[in-house]
């Protein structure tokens, strides 16, 4: 934006016909950027349909042999993939769908109570950090509504089809993404001493600046810091499977994964659950993007 007009070169009526606000160069740029992103995004919904894993192989048909080998390995363990839109919010959208789908299918009331308690803890953390209630409460309310609605047997209960539709509806999906961004930001700031070294390594900014610029704004991509803190804050384990070109020297290919296991802020024994270390959310990471994976026999 260095070379802005110094001399007013535009005719007055030319400006007037543009918009009542005159000649907004920055806004023009932003609007154009938005419209390009929108056009790209419209080609794919926030959350796609469940596809067989073969559709992943098809993408790399003439691509890297290492990737094709790895997809074969994945094929042994995973049955399907559900893609998300690549708009910088894919981790959160994938997480949202995967979690709500799990609750809808499991009807695990103990898990719902547990997560609700953690949501309230996040709400308190934001208040303590000095966030005005009005800035985040709508996002919290909307998420809690979704959580209620996937419980069956009520007037407001929703089907799996409806969950898919809602996940594709901007007014639901974006609000839930924003809810997760608030929760993530609160957790990072609450434990800023723990996260500081990781954040310094990523961006060389303060924890607060990082949250303001790389967590809270929509469209900012998620890194291991985001995943760790969301997983910790809500107490939900997440498995991330990495599909990249790295290979090991021994010749055979293997697919790495990393389990994000929440630090024990509350012990899960209340529900007698042993699944704590066994993530029910699995995301496929390809550099810059997250999709949802479905294990076989799940």
């Amino acid at each position: 934006m260095g070379d802005k007009e110094k001399e007013p070169v535009l005719e007055d009526d030319a400006m007037g016909s543009c918009s009542a606000w005159g000649n907004f160069e920055d806004d023009d740029v932003m609007q154009q950027q938005c419209s390009i992103q929108d056009d790209e995004a419209k080609k794919f919904p926030y959350v796609g349909d469940k596809e067989p894993l073969s559709s992943l192989a098809a993408e790399y048909q003439s691509g890297s042999p290492i990737l094709l080998e790895k997809i074969k390995v994945l094929d042994e363990q995973y049955a399907a993939i559900r893609r998300t839109r690549g708009d910088g919010n894919c981790f959160f959208r994938g997480f949202m769908f995967s979690y709500l789908e799990h609750i809808l299918e499991s009807q695990d009331n103990a898990e719902i109570d547990r997560v609700k308690a953690n949501v309230e803890r996040s709400r308190k953390a934001l208040q303590t950090l000095g966030y005005a209630e009005l800035t985040f409460e709508d996002f919290f309310t909307l998420f809690l509504e979704q959580l209620e609605d996937v419980i069956q047997g009520k007037e407001t209960s929703i089907s799996h089809e409806e969950l898919v539709l809602r996940s594709r509806d901007q007014s639901v999906s974006d609000y839930v993404v924003m809810f997760f961004r608030f929760v993530t930001s609160a957790e990072i700031q609450k434990r800023s001493e723990f996260f500081e070294p990781f954040i310094m390594g990523l961006t060389n900014t303060t924890v607060e600046q990082f949250c303001k610029s790389a967590v809270e704004p929509m469209g900012e991509e998620s890194d291991h810091v985001h995943i760790t803190s969301l997983s910790d804050a809500l107490g939900i384990p997440i498995r991330v499977v990495y599909l990249d070109r790295s290979s090991c020297d021994t010749g055979g290919v293997s697919v790495n994964h990393h389990d994000f296991i929440p630090v024990a802020t509350d012990l899960p024994n209340a529900s007698g659950s042993t699944e704590k270390n066994n993530p029910f959310i699995t995301l496929l990471y390809r550099p810059g993007h997250y999709d949802i994976l479905y294990p076989k026999g799940g």
Binding site: M1, G2, D3, K4, K6, P8, W21, G22, N23, F24, E25, D26, D27, M30, Y131, A132, L134, T135, F136, D138, F139, S171, D174, Y175, M178, R181, F182, S185, K212, S213, E216, P217, M218, G219
Partner: protein, 157 residues
């Protein structure tokens, strides 16, 4: 649309409740349109804008608060990050660093902070930016002060 209206209404109530909390900012909603606001902000002390009162116009999009409000100066101001003709403001939180954690009130505070701490390396007003970048603080300050007197202070009778 409904969500943005509800949010703006909450901000409106908060502004009414906290009217005295921030004497440097006077934020007013248009009588007939909750998506249009104006603000009067006081130029920060120990800056060339001290003593001036600056008017801002807010236009809030239907996607608010997922998208930022558009804000511009209605009062003429000589500042590296404000377009001299249109009043457009170059501030990251009004662009890609926006998040719903901001409110119209806190945006005003951020703009006051920008007035006190210009960023000459991302100028919308190159003349102003160049003065600061070349180290001519006195030149910048006297230009800024002159426009503050001309445009942001009540005319002496």
């Amino acid at each position: 649309m409904q969500a943005s209206r509800a949010r703006l209404f909450k901000e409106y109530k908060e502004v009414q409740r906290e009217k005295t909390a921030d004497p440097d900012i006077q934020l007013v909603c248009d009588d007939s349109n909750i998506f249009k606001w104006t603000a009067l902000i006081k130029g920060p002390s120990e800056t060339p804008y001290e003593g001036g009162v600056f008017q801002l116009a807010f236009s809030v999009p239907e996607q608010y608060p997922l998208q930022p409000p558009q804000v511009r100066f209605l009062t003429k101001i000589f500042h590296p990050n404000v377009h001299f003709k249109t009043g457009e403001i170059c501030l990251d939180i009004l662009k890609n660093a926006w998040s719903p954690a901001w409110t119209l009130q806190s945006v005003c505070r951020a703009i006051i902070a920008l007035m006190a701490h210009p960023e000459p390396d991302s100028p919308l007003n190159c003349d102003s930016g160049n003065l600061l970048r070349s180290g001519d603080v006195r030149g910048y300050q006297s230009m800024a002060r002159m426009y503050t007197r001309l445009a942001a202070m009540p005319k002496k009778g």
